[in-house]
Assembly symmetry: C2
């Protein structure tokens, strides 16, 4: 089969690799991927900010159709359309049952290793072996309209990561919200905040194309300024004290600082940007302002059942974050377009 591999800084290749086979645990499925995509977090190793061992399979977001299941798989069936979260989880451990599936006691990552030590496929490939098929895969009832595929694919990571930012930030009916980051996750956080009933949502963005998506997703205001100026504008917009929630969707020291300083006293920062460069939080500031910080790697598998019906009935269309499509074999072009910010988010079709 064809799969995408990272070979080093800005070196993505589409290559033939062996087809996946069931591992022998009795709990696998093999999924034929119908759509995958490139994540902002894929750009960290692509840009050489992080340095995983290479070559390695890459990609962690996909939807597809189940091709094969092992004997012990009971919930997922051959022929099912499925959404995979960006990780593999058992669904039954102490953390999974509490809705923290990203802390599954048998957690596995795509393009890494499963709980049993078997290598796993990347999501940007034609097929993927799914180690805990029953715990991991969300079955989509029936055969979804092909036009829904982009929106369904966002439930693999990006929309539900934005949703996690909003949930972690305590967004609810009437909330005032600012979103730091106008990447696909930030835009998704805008949509998620609107869905949760936020009254006013400020997208912090300098790019006209992204501002347009933000407004279509429910942003009531756009602020292009950053740093001290951005903080001052946000404070001014909300009674001189700032919004209730700030959703940090970048992961840099600057973006977290922006978020922490912008939230009103007693407010909350919901963060989902992967912290790269290791910013640490200033306790003393948090103490004096009572601004809470909550978030992390989004337990998307725990959210998908709640959100899926709204995508299927068309009331929620998070797929608008995809503004370019590429053939899987052109994954290198997709990475380049993302890296150069010529696209918000690139969808890959095998």
């Amino acid at each position: 089969m064809r799969a995408t591999l990272l070979y080093g800084e800005r070196d993505i290749r589409s290559e033939q690799v062996p087809d996946p086979v069931l591992s022998g645990t009795g709990r696998d499925a093999v999924v034929r991927v119908t759509a995958a995509c490139v994540c902002g977090s894929d750009l960290w190793p692509y840009r050489g900010v992080t340095h995983p061992d290479v070559p390695r399979r890459i990609g962690h977001e996909f939807v597809g159709v189940v091709e094969e299941v092992a004997a012990g798989v009971t919930r997922v069936r051959v022929g099912d359309t499925v959404i995979a979260p960006f990780y593999d989880c058992c669904g039954v451990c102490a953390n999974c049952v509490r809705g923290v599936t990203t802390s599954c006691l048998e957690l596995g990552w795509w393009g890494g290793e499963d709980h049993w030590g078997h290598a796993t496929d990347g999501g940007q490939g034609e097929f993927v072996r799914v180690p805990h098929a029953d715990g991991t895969l969300q079955v989509v009832p029936g055969t979804p309209d092909p036009e829904l595929i982009p929106s369904l694919l966002t439930l693999s990571d990006v929309f539900l990561t934005g949703h996690h930012a909003a949930v972690s930030g305590g967004v609810g009916p009437g909330s005032t919200v600012a979103v730091v980051g106008d990447g696909a996750v930030g835009l998704s956080a805008v949509l998620a905040a609107r869905r949760l009933g936020a009254e006013r949502i400020v997208a912090m963005s300098r790019h006209a194309d992204r501002q347009a998506v933000a407004r279509s997703f429910g942003a009531t205001d756009v602020v292009a300024e950053r740093g001290d100026e951005g903080v001052a504008i946000l404070k001014d917009m909300f009674d001189g004290i700032g919004p209730d929630a700030v959703l940090e969707c970048v992961g840099t020291k600057e973006s977290m600082d922006q978020a922490l300083r912008s939230a009103r006293p007693g407010g909350q920062v919901g963060f989902v940007g992967v912290p790269n460069g290791g910013p640490e939080l200033p306790m003393r500031t948090m103490f004096s302002t009572n601004v809470g910080v909550r978030g992390g790697v989004a337990p998307v598998r725990s959210y998908v059942e709640e959100i899926l019906p709204e995508v299927l009935d068309g009331s929620l269309a998070p797929g608008a974050v995809f503004d370019r499509e590429f053939a899987l074999s052109d994954a290198a072009d997709a990475y380049r377009a993302m890296d150069e910010r010529r696209t918000i988010k690139a969808l890959l079709r095998p």
Copy 2:
């Protein structure tokens, strides 16, 4: 009048100072203190960990009777028994109305300065001028039973600070909770967690006298171990993953580390320990575990109305944290007893 002053490291003196007079803002009251106390946070400057300018008035917890009010004071009347929070707040600004009275836009501190730049009295004195009398003082209806005074005094700071830890930690019915710190605040947090419906409450304590108070306040378990061993024991006690909430009531790097590592994935640290020594929070750990951190300086004025009736009807008796009483003139002895951990919390009677 007599007041308590800090002169330097382990140098507390009881001295005669001028009686307070109304400042001219029209919003003051003068309160005759009937009971005050020594706070764990008073020990930071006492021990020379922090270095405020000295000599300075000290103490920030008191109950008393209103002696005099300025012309613009409408809610508080001469003769009222009142509880003062450990700060002075207007009650009507954007932060106060949102329940974050510790971020009042006209905030003042006892033994410091008020919003208008006038020096303020310390709480450990015979009289205190209260700059925003209407916003700051909680009136206690009628004339409370003298036996209730210690419990009423805890609403000035210590019990409601413990309550803030529990609220910030998201404690609710059925929660599992661990409390780091067996000082008066930690013990109060145990009681607050029980009041909020926690199912199981672990007090982390090595001292028999404090363990006894913790159990009387509702602790179901006591763990004496700390560090890696303490974390491992807590994980074991709760499905191998740890409790839902950990309440950090100390303020050191070690105690915050203990709290962060003990909470279950997706759990929450509620913190009220004043961060001394500037521990910073490890973002990467918070990201991977989804453990949230929320808390800070407790907006006790915003909680007191809810809790006061339970103290008045005797159903809540947080005053048991006071295990020693001293005359106000013997404040130096009270500080010594607190510093040497010969008392959990010392009450001062003018």
